[in-house]
Each structure stands twice: as structure tokens, then as C-alpha cells.
Symmetry: C2
DNA sequence: TTGTAAGCGTTATCAG
DNA sequence: CTGATAACGCTTACAA
């Protein structure tokens, strides 16, 4: 790959490889004069140190693995962008993997990452129990792991995410405030966060003495295609809207569901927010371009990304035994951004 | 990082390292019996070969660098997802970089990638001339480079993207068909593709004998924040709509501009498509959730990604001298998806 | 069929 | 201040 090696420079300058190495690394043992000569020569000949050799010697790669369920949602893309920024800032590179919300792919990705050699792994696990054993063993033997976003996961390490229950509670509260109390909640099937987000919804209803109806709790299979999701939504909504107690609000617990339901409602000619108000999780940057502008529960992606990375770097650089560290779980605050989809006036 | 090494296995089994290596690599020189013994032992002790050592020896990393302007647009996220799929399928990993549409960051990313060691680079360059020299030298001395998406770039290598002129021509034609001939075109400033997309617009108007008005050609500075983009759009649109010859259609030449303008129009209470029809480049998956459902020029991201990757792998694996290869430029077909934002009934 | 030895390109230790 | 030597963990001629 690179053209000229350290050894060759040494030969050409009649110096030893170790001198060259030290000179290029600005060692105090080398005279300014030699340093200058070596550096100039290296520059001229466009010397690029072979990273593999260096890292082999040093025992680290400066790569960190990032494993996301999908890189295709706006939330993921944002997160990834900020992770990348923080990584570069700290002289680390990101090797990207996606699990497509599927344990098998998650396992494959983890194995690839460890085979490839990364100094640490940042993961949003598929489900609460997915690949727990593998991940534990990686964390114990291979490289540190930090869990983010999907933090309900039984691995003893740093975790960073949001308070899922509280966030949904707040969102439900907004609907209740505008007197929309017959709230349909859209959940992803088998997602680690679903349960907690659902609990927030249930608690809010309970606190405001609103009866919880099973028919209002919808689980959508997430592993299917977007068209399938749309179709399921359409069928369910059509059914519910024709029933005696048609809901007058929708709370989406995931970005995909929240955003896509708007398209389905438009298609069904159901007016938002007049007939049905909508609020839900989403970090979409086009919220204002949606039909109508969408009220969202917004996650602090930048903070989540930079903190997650920092936690991972701390573990990578820590001299302590992994068992000596007391791991923390950080919950970041979400914010509610109200827009037209919940504006009744 | 890994726990047990090849050498240690050798000691424990009273065999030589080379035997172990060959056994694990299924060499024909090794007896089935030994192979079995070695493999079982390796499995039990959870042996992970050190990738760095291996790649140092073999002279390749199995990593390819992907350098995108941004990873935050739906188009980029899709592309990245498909690139990742293809890469994994071919046993390559992706190291991700973004240039934030900025030459300096692009240069930094390229240097990092080469320092890090990648077997090839896939790049969508910032502009037509950005880092041309650096990239040429990388392509010549370091590892093969394939240009994608932003293919108007003077590097002699494989390129894959779309026919920008034709695509905009088609989009403009759709507007003309519905008799919306006073078309405002939104362009990004300093983007490599802008010129060609603009030419398509101009050619369409010319072919249909529609006068081209300079006031209808808008250039938006892309390097600014999203809010700044929105503000610029708002100001310009307000101005144009109050003028004597208010446009009755908008053609967006980039995903960000096309999608965001919908939010701005909604904000200004300008009705789409009644007052102004909108069409433009975008691969957004929520097109139906937009206000209104957006007519788009859709790029075949999956094909672009898998072909780009294939072209790069071909170069990586090619025995030929770089100068012996005749490089090709592949133009993929785009498709127009008509939705409500251009539906006049 | 197995083992020996050299080498990939660096860096670290220690001696000169 | 500079250099010799060993080592990181693996692969691969070549030798046995």
C-alpha cells in the first residue's frame, strides 16, 4: 500500500530504523538536526507509516465499532453523524455495522467487529436479551462495550439513553391536556424499549384516571418492509376509526411508526389534528415539512453520541480491571416539540 | 485484545505455529486428524486470530473507506445502508467518513483513511475540483478510488452516478405537462452536480420555447445550518411570490432543498400544488407523509451502491497496472414518482 | 505430514 | 545522541 518504508528511509539516509522511528515520533533522544533531515526526507518521499505494523506493535487499532439496528432512520443518521464527529475529534475511526433489528445479523456483526479488531464497541442491541452471552464475553475478554439508546439490556457496563417511560408519559400528557383522551399507542414488536415506553403511556392514563383499552395498544411487526408496515397501519386504523369508540389521538413510540402514520392518515383522508391528533418519537429534521407539521418527542442525539463515545474511550483508556469499575447508566432528558399535529384551534 | 494466540495453541498442543496456522486455514498439507484436534482446541479456547498480524502479513486490511458529503440526508443513509450490505456480503468492512461538503474536512478524511489503511476508497467529492491532486496521488500510489454520486470530477477512474441533466430535464417536463411553466429552480451553491442539473432545466425550457428568467434560478448556500437554509428560502420565496410574475412551480435539485421548501411553503401558507407545484430530487422514504405527498426524482440507491462497490472490488483485485485499465462511467436511470405535489385536478 | 525460519513494518529496550 | 536487537502474531517457502 504505502510506497516507502521506514527501513528504506534508514538505508537511504545511512541511519538505523530505530533512529528514523524516533525522529519521526519527535523523541527527545534525537538531535534537532537529524530530526529535520529525516522529516524532510520523509515528506519528500511521501512516507506513510504502515498503520497495521504500528497497531500490531502497539496492540490497538484506533477503530471503534458502532452497531446500530438500522442506519436508515433520521434518528440513526443523526446519531451516527455526531458519533463520527466525536470519534474523529478523538482520533478514532468508526467501523459501521447494522443489525437490521435481527439477532442473527447482530451476532454476525459482532463477530466481524472482533475479528476485524476494534478497540471498543458501541451498541444499540436488538432486544433485551439478544446475544447477551456473546457480548458479555467480548466485554470481558476482548474490548470494552458501551450500550446506548436501547439501554434495557442486562450487560454490566456503561449505558446511555433516555428515560423512556418519562418521555412517553410526557407525550401522553400533552394529548390529555388538549382533551384527547382516547389515545391509540403504536409500538414496535419485540423492541427492547417498547415495554418501557408503553408503561409511560399506561401510567399517564392511570394518573389521569383514563381507562386503558387493550384495543388501543397496537403492536406492529418491525422486521417487515416499510410497505408492510404501512399496510398494517392502514388496516388497523381503518378498523379502529370505524368502531364505536374511535380514538382521537395517536402516540407513536418509534420514529418510523410516528412518521409513517401521517402518510397513512393522509391516504385515508383522516384529518390531523382535527379528527385525530398525533405526537410521537422522532428526530426527523423535516418535521415542518410533514403533513401536518409533527409534534415530536425529541432525543438529544448530539449529547447522547458524544457522551457514549466518551464513556467508551474512558473504558478503553482505563487501567483498571473491568470488575473494579462501577458502571453508570445515564439518562438524558428528552424534549417535547409541539407543532401543528397536536394544535387544536 | 484477543486472548490466546496461535503460538500458545502450538505450545499447548506440542505442534509448531505453522502447523496450527495451516490447520486453521484448512490447508491440504495437514491431516484431517490434526486439523480436527487443532480446530476443536481453538474453538474451546475461543481463539480469535489477530487481524492486524494477519493483514500486516497479507498486505491488506479488508476495510474500504467511504467518504460522503454528509450522512444525514435520507439519500445518503440509504446509500450507506446498501453499501454496507454489499461490503459485508463481500467480507469487507466500511470505515465511514464525511466531508460536510467542505474541502478541508474532505482532505482530512482522506488522509485519515490512508493513514488508517484501507484497501480502497469510495468517494462522493465535495466539488468538481476538490482535493484532486491528493486523490490522484492516492489512486496512483496507495489504493484504488471509485467516484460515485458526484461524478463530475476529473479523476481517471470508474465513476457511477446518474444522468443529472436528463433527470432534471424530465422533472421540468412533468411541470410543463401540467402547464406550470413559470418554474423556480432551487440549486445548491458550489455543488459539483448543480451545473448539470441546472442545464437540464434550461434545456427543457428551451425545448418547450419557454423563456428562461434569471430570477427563477436560485442558489442557496449549503454549508450553512438548516435554519439558515429555511430562512433563505423563506425570504426568496416571499419575494418572488409578491412579484409580478410569481412562479407557479418549484423544481428542487437537491434532496434537502426539495424537502425543506415544503415546510417553508406551509409556513407561508402557500398552497401546494394549487398555488405552486413542487417536484425535485429526493429519496425520502416518508414522501407520503409530507405536506403534501411529494413528487420526486428518485435515484436507484441500491444499484448505485452495489455497483460502486463492485467496481471498487474489481480494482482492488485487479492484477493489471492502473494505467492498463479502461475506466468507465456508468449512468443509472432515475425515475419520476408523481404524487400530490404536482397533481392538479 | 509436520517443522524451521524468515519476514511483514513498526516500536521499545537497552547498550554503546 | 544513535544503533542493535527483539518483539508484536501471523503466513509461507522450504526443509525434514
Amino acid at each position: 500500500m504505502a510506497k516507502i518504508t521506514l527501513k528504506e528511509i534508514a538505508e537511504r539516509l545511512n541511519l538505523s530504523p530505530s533512529t528514523i522511528s524516533k525522529a519521526l515520533n519527535d523523541s527527545y533522544e534525537i538531535s534537532e538536526k537529524t530530526k529535520k533531515k529525516v522529516k524532510e526526507f520523509a515528506q519528500e518521499h511521501n512516507y506513510q507509516p504502515n498503520p497495521l505494523a504500528k497497531y500490531l506493535k502497539l496492540g490497538k487499532t484506533n477503530n471503534i465499532g458502532v452497531l446500530l439496528p438500522s442506519i436508515r432512520t433520521p434518528f440513526a443518521a443523526q446519531l451516527l453523524q455526531y458519533l463520527h464527529q466525536s470519534a474523529i475529534y478523538n482520533s478514532y475511526n468508526i467501523i459501521l455495522m447494522q443489525s437490521i433489528d435481527n439477532e442473527k445479523d447482530e451476532e454476525r456483526a459482532l463477530i466481524t467487529l472482533t475479528n476485524q479488531g476494534v478497540d471498543g464497541i458501541l451498541i444499540a442491541p436488538v432486544s433485551e436479551t439478544s446475544n447477551l452471552q456473546l457480548l458479555s464475553s467480548i466485554h470481558a475478554n476482548h474490548c470494552p462495550v458501551v450500550v446506548f439508546d436501547r439501554i434495557h439490556y442486562n450487560l454490566d457496563t456503561h449505558k446511555i439513553g433516555i428515560d423512556n417511560m418519562k418521555s412517553t408519559y410526557m407525550a401522553a400528557e400533552e394529548l390529555i391536556k388538549i382533551n384527547r383522551k382516547n389515545i391509540m399507542v403504536l409500538c414496535g414488536k419485540n423492541l427492547g424499549v417498547t415495554q418501557y415506553r408503553l408503561e409511560g403511556y399506561q401510567k399517564a392514563l392511570k394518573d389521569y384516571s383514563i381507562p386503558i383499552k387493550e384495543e388501543n395498544i397496537i403492536h406492529i411487526d418491525y422486521s417487515k418492509s416499510l410497505t408492510t408496515i404501512d399496510e398494517s397501519l392502514k388496516e388497523i386504523i381503518t378498523g379502529r376509526m370505524c368502531s364505536d369508540d374511535a380514538p382521537n389521538a395517536i402516540l407513536g413510540t418509534t420514529e418510523t411508526l410516528t412518521t409513517r402514520v401521517l402518510g397513512v392518515l393522509a391516504d385515508l383522508k383522516i384529518q390531523v389534528p382535527k379528527e385525530i391528533a398525533v405526537i410521537g418519537f422522532s428526530n426527523i429534521e423535516f418535521a415542518n415539512s410533514l403533513n401536518p407539521a409533527l409534534s415530536t418527542v425529541h432525543q438529544p442525539t448530539e449529547e447522547m453520541a458524544s457522551t457514549a463515545l466518551q464513556l467508551l474511550l474512558d473504558l478503553i483508556n482505563s487501567k483498571k480491571e473491568r470488575s473494579q469499575i462501577d458502571f453508570q447508566t445515564i439518562l438524558l432528558e428528552t424534549s417535547i416539540q409541539l407543532r401543528k399535529s397536536t394544535a387544536l384551534t
